[in-house]
């Protein structure tokens, strides 16, 4: 090969270049997938090829309802953790009653959406990649295509609808669970009544704080759907391939969620 004679720098530059192109390609693919999914959601019915609402509902149950217990437990724990940290820090200034404000803002703007996004990525993103990957391996996707059933309409659009609805709803649920966790700890540690905690929280928070978190969660939902589906469709090489893609889907989705969160927080707090 000619490449073996090139200097090491050129080779690594070429590798970086190829990696960058691959990344661009992947993002281009995500974009095309979103556009096509929405195309079917909006125009499918008039072309007599509607998106299956029953499939979307089934996905919503899977994504949202079945994950609620674990979301509750972890969000509650985060609320408690924030309260412990907050009280500990604020005590040094004799301002521990301010902890309620800290919890309220951290939870609604950051932790609620983030923990929800990560949990749903872990539960549903991986399940999605595995389900679609198995369908690829079993030629079920080919079968859909030769039956004239568009796989994006049939499989991706319902998932996207479900994510767009459920991730924000679960985020709201997570917000409440975390606030409850904070309230329980403050009640024990500071003797703050639940009514007072609730009044203070809602007094400090604006609708914007909650909406900011929910806007993030919508983006997280889209990320989970796209990354899960894309890695599923990209499966090759049998059952082993499904396993690899499933892992990749979870790691990528969580990475993109954290990076998107950072970007969001940066731009929204300028």
């Amino acid at each position: 090969m000619a490449e073996t004679r090139q200097p090491a720098l050129a080779i690594s530059l070429a590798r970086v270049g190829r990696g960058f192109v691959a990344l661009l390609e992947e993002f281009g693919y995500y974009l095309a997938l979103v556009v096509e999914s929405f195309f079917w959601i909006v125009l499918g019915p008039s072309r007599r090829q509607p998106v299956r609402l029953s499939a979307a509902v089934q996905q919503m149950v899977e994504i949202g309802i079945n994950g609620l217990p674990i979301v509750f437990v972890l969000s509650f724990a985060i609320g408690v953790m924030l309260a412990i940290q907050g009280i500990h820090t604020l005590k040094q200034f004799g301002a521990e009653t301010q902890v309620v404000l800290g919890i309220a803002l951290s939870v609604t703007r950051e932790f609620g959406p983030l923990i929800t996004g990560i949990l749903i990525a872990g539960r549903s993103g991986s399940a999605l990649a595995a389900r679609i990957g198995t369908m690829v391996v079993n030629q079920e996707i080919d079968a859909l295509r030769v039956m004239g059933i568009n796989p994006v309409r049939y499989l991706v659009s319902p998932v996207l609808i479900a994510m767009l609805v459920m991730v924000p709803l679960v985020t709201l649920f997570s917000d409440f669970a975390a606030l409850l966790g904070g309230a329980v700890f403050c009640n024990i540690e500071l003797g703050l009544s639940y009514a007072a905690y609730w009044d203070q929280s809602t007094g400090f928070m604006t609708t914007d704080d909650v909406l900011q978190g929910l806007a993030k969660s919508v983006v997280f939902g889209v990320i989970i759907a796209l990354v899960g589906v894309t890695n599923g469709f990209a499966v090759s090489g049998g059952a082993e391939g499904v396993g690899k893609s499933t892992t990749r889907a979870v790691v990528l989705a969580i990475s993109y969620i954290v990076l998107a969160d950072m970007a969001f927080t940066y731009f929204l707090n300028r």
Binding site: Q49, T134, M135, N138, Q139, E140, D142, A143, L144, R145, V146, M147, G148, I149
Partner: protein, 263 residues
């Protein structure tokens, strides 16, 4: 051009990456005939089938199905054509989340305005055709290999397609079950006048069902002819395949050396 052939492939060339898989393949299938595409493993049978099904785009050449060139057609045209095509994939490719009956009904649900009860009746009828009456409520995972293939066949014929494709119908089945499936394929041609393309490497099955056979080897067509013509062919590679003789690789010394030294 439109000379009445059900399938007409012209000078088809395809690549995976830079590797040429099919090399100027020509193929003509007449309405109502069973054409068997035969060849050793890796000869390009599945690749040819995927192109016939419009699942992959060729490098060059044309593929006419029922008179329409699918390499140049719009998605809507292809969509319309697909209602006239049925496929039975090697592993069945039934949707594992649905029952057998729901699988069979799927094309009806997506492409027709039939009411639920009518669809169920049609699905039951098709399941009877493939001798699976009464198995509709089972999930694919509960079926044996032979039953899965027959259920996939029921789904493939539910829209009464003009073209029917099989990928390795007898692969992985015991001889008796495989023979049943062969009978079924012949019955479909006789009773429903379907044009059928079967991809297989099983000689017995090929000779039993074929009206004509195309022999594919390393991406090229060696020969197309009747069963007798193929049997009596004097082409060495065809005889090797028929007698299951391994291919004798001609080794180019330079090439061999280059491979060894990794240069």
């Amino acid at each position: 051009m439109s000379s009445g052939a059900a399938i007409e492939v012209d000078e088809l060339v395809t690549h995976y990456g830079s590797r040429r898989i099919l090399d100027r393949v020509d193929l003509r299938v007449e309405p109502g005939e069973i054409m068997v595409i035969m060849g050793g493993s890796g000869s390009g049978k599945s690749t040819l089938l995927r192109h016939l099904l419009g699942l992959q785009r060729p490098t060059s050449g044309s593929i006419r199905l029922l008179g329409m060139d699918i390499t140049a057609s719009s998605p809507a045209e292809l969509q319309a054509l697909r209602r006239n095509m049925g496929v039975s994939f090697q592993g069945g490719a039934l949707l594992s989340s649905m029952t057998v009956a729901e699988n069979v009904m799927l094309p009806l649900r997506e492409h027709t305005a039939l009411d639920e009860q009518t669809m169920q009746i049609v699905a039951r009828m098709k399941l009877e055709v493939v001798n699976l009456g009464g198995f509709g409520e089972l999930k694919p995972a509960q079926l044996s290999g032979g039953m899965i293939k027959r259920a996939a066949l029921a789904r493939a014929i539910v829209m009464d397609p003009k073209l029917l494709f099989f990928d390795e119908p007898s692969a992985g089945l015991d001889p008796v079950v495989a023979a049943d499936l062969d009978e079924l394929i012949i019955k479909l041609r006789d009773t429903m006048q379907m044009t059928i393309v079967v991809v297989t490497h099983e000689l017995d099955s090929a000779f039993k069902i074929a009206d004509r056979i195309t022999v594919l080897d390393h991406g090229r067509i060696l020969l197309t002819g009747s069963v007798d013509e193929v049997r009596s062919s004097r082409i060495q590679r065809v005889q090797d395949l028929l007698n299951r003789r391994p291919r004798e690789e001609e080794i180019d010394p330079d090439d061999y050396l280059r491979r060894l030294t990794g240069g």
